[in-house]
Amino acid sequence: MSRFLKLSYFTLVFIFLYLPIFIIIVYSFNNANFSALWHGATWKWYRLLFSDSAILSVTGNSLVVGILAATFATVIGTLGAVALFKYHFFGRKLLHGLIFILIIVPDLVFGISLLVLYSTLHIHLGFWTLLLAHVTFCIPFVMVTVYARLKDTNKHLFEAARDLGATELTVFWRIILPLMVPAIMSGWLLSFSLSLDDVIISFFVTGPSFQILPLYIYSLVHVGVTPEVNALVSLTFVATVTIVLTAYYFLRKQHAKMG
């Protein structure tokens, strides 16, 4: 393949991936309610967004669930990864298998499984059922991230600490955790973004009492999504790009220093 052909193919795929995002942003400035036609540019939707209590409250709910789910999943997943890495115990293989299955199983099957569980136990659907579901589907991703990092660290560090008299808890607190900080952070971020964007599992495990942003949008797609939602999504896009590029800049700087 010639260089030109390669680059144009590469660019085309990226245009394909980014075109819908471009459209979301363009239509967040469209001066019309539901229309797909262009009616001139306006800032109106951004202004209205911040006075629309419905959107703000579901966004708030999504953020609360995202932060809590990511935090709980990170704590449980990190502990779990350490247990899986350090100890041999009865059922270790089963645990490995469960994590693999949780990652690969379609969201839909997991969602209805939890719905059946909650309904068997007569638990009302709402905030708690949603949070527990999100924690559960985030745990495997944290475990995989932390476990991969644990495998790459020098095992002798843990043994040396033990020989010098540290308890298991001390080893965990003073040696493993500091070494795992990058993996724990990326596990948290991954969980947070998975939780924030989940439609399928949430659809089954939350009730009318607790609405979150993806489900609010889903309820609008057939009647027409208001441009305020475009404005909100555009803002989150700009925020992500800023965060990711800043992180990239610092990563490169660090890389240059080390190399």
Binding site: M1, K6, F10, V13, F14, F16, L17, P20, I21, I23, I24, A36, I76, G77, A83, Y87, F89, L95, L98, I99, I101, I104, P106, D107, L108, V109, F110, I112, S113, L114, V116, L117, S119, T120, L132, A133, V135, T136, I139, A166, T167, L169, T170, S193, D197, V199, I200, F203, F204, P214, I217, V221, V225, V233, F237, T240, V241, V244, L251, R252
Partner: protein, 299 residues
């Protein structure tokens, strides 16, 4: 010697008790959580597929095989076939699009690879429903695609894509393409390119090098990508919901409707079990075709 360091004393006097506590805690927490919130629900669905249900009581404890017999009705068989067909086409299109892309990316310098990887992942962090929804703007009758094609003179009548299977297909490829790119890229990144030089020196032509060396060695990536695309393609119900309309009902919509609209939970459970069996077969195939080392490299 003992008294000067409290921690040392503690460790020497009762090492097992304190150590065992952390060990047990960490194991018990993760184990209990996943048993209760993952294994138990899956078992309940399996059990539910053998039960009867009504609108008042979604699942009641009467054993039956009727739900599985119901699956063989023509209506459902048609949905199965359509789902497998559409998922298969989606996976093949994703593979064809993703392979050259992953190849090109894997030949970049290391810092460029990191940068483009981030650019590839950024769309993931933008609400996926809204991204699918805005595809309507592109493919509707007066949309951007028709505008472009008419302007370029490639078509003379606008294409009616909305609410067809093709629309679902476009949405599925769009959503799942990165899931094909990532495992292929992980595979190609570790590829030893000197093998190709060796093959060239031994006289192998370009196509022969591709089919005899590159593709066999990236087979684990291809199969992993297929696995990651096929299953969601059958079950992301919101894509056919938004783009495909009622005519392109897929397995995911069928399951969802049994739970939300038809209140036939046992049948929904039975469809899920069937889907899980398909999943297990695909994983078994993946296991058979790859070595543990190859799996570790991809995971």
């Amino acid at each position: 010697m003992y008294g000067s360091n409290g921690r040392l004393v503690g460790r020497l006097y009762c090492p097992m008790k304190r150590d065992g506590f952390f060990r047990q805690c960490s194991i018990v927490i993760i184990f209990a959580w996943l048993l209760f919130f993952a294994l138990l629900p899956f078992i309940l669905v399996l059990a539910g597929s053998f039960l009867t249900g009504s609108e008042h009581e979604f699942l009641s404890w009467h054993f039956t095989l009727q739900n599985y017999a119901d699956l063989f009705q023509l209506l459902y068989l048609r949905i199965f076939l359509r789902s497998f067909y559409l998922a298969g086409i989606t996976a093949i299109i994703c593979l064809i699009l993703a392979y050259p892309f992953a190849y090109i990316m894997s030949r970049f310098s290391e810092s460029a690879r990191l940068f483009w990887m981030l650019i590839l992942i950024i769309p993931f962090w933008t609400n996926s429903l809204m991204r699918i929804y805005s595809i309507i703007i592109v493919i509707r009758v007066k949309g951007w695609l028709n505008g472009f094609l008419l302007w370029a003179g490639l078509i003379h009548q606008p294409l009616h894509l909305m609410y067809t299977q093709t629309a679902s297909l476009i949405g599925l490829v769009y959503t799942l393409l990165p899931f094909m790119i990532l495992p292929l890229y992980a595979n190609l990144e570790k590829f030893n390119w000197t093998l190709l030089d060796a093959a060239r020196d031994l006289g192998a032509k370009q196509l022969r090098r591709l089919f005899k060396i590159v593709i066999p060695l990236t087979l684990p990536g291809i199969i992993a990508g297929m696995l990651l695309v096929l299953l969601p393609a059958m079950t992301i119900f919101y894509v056919p919901d938004i783009l495909g309309g009622a005519k392109s009902l897929l397995l995911g919509n069928l399951i969802k409707n049994q739970f939300i609209e038809a209140y036939n939970w046992p049948l929904g459970c039975a469809v899920s079990v069937m889907l899980t069996i398909v999943m297990v077969l695909m994983i078994a195939f993946y296991w058979k075709m790859t070595t543990p080392k190859e799996r570790r490299e991809l995971m």
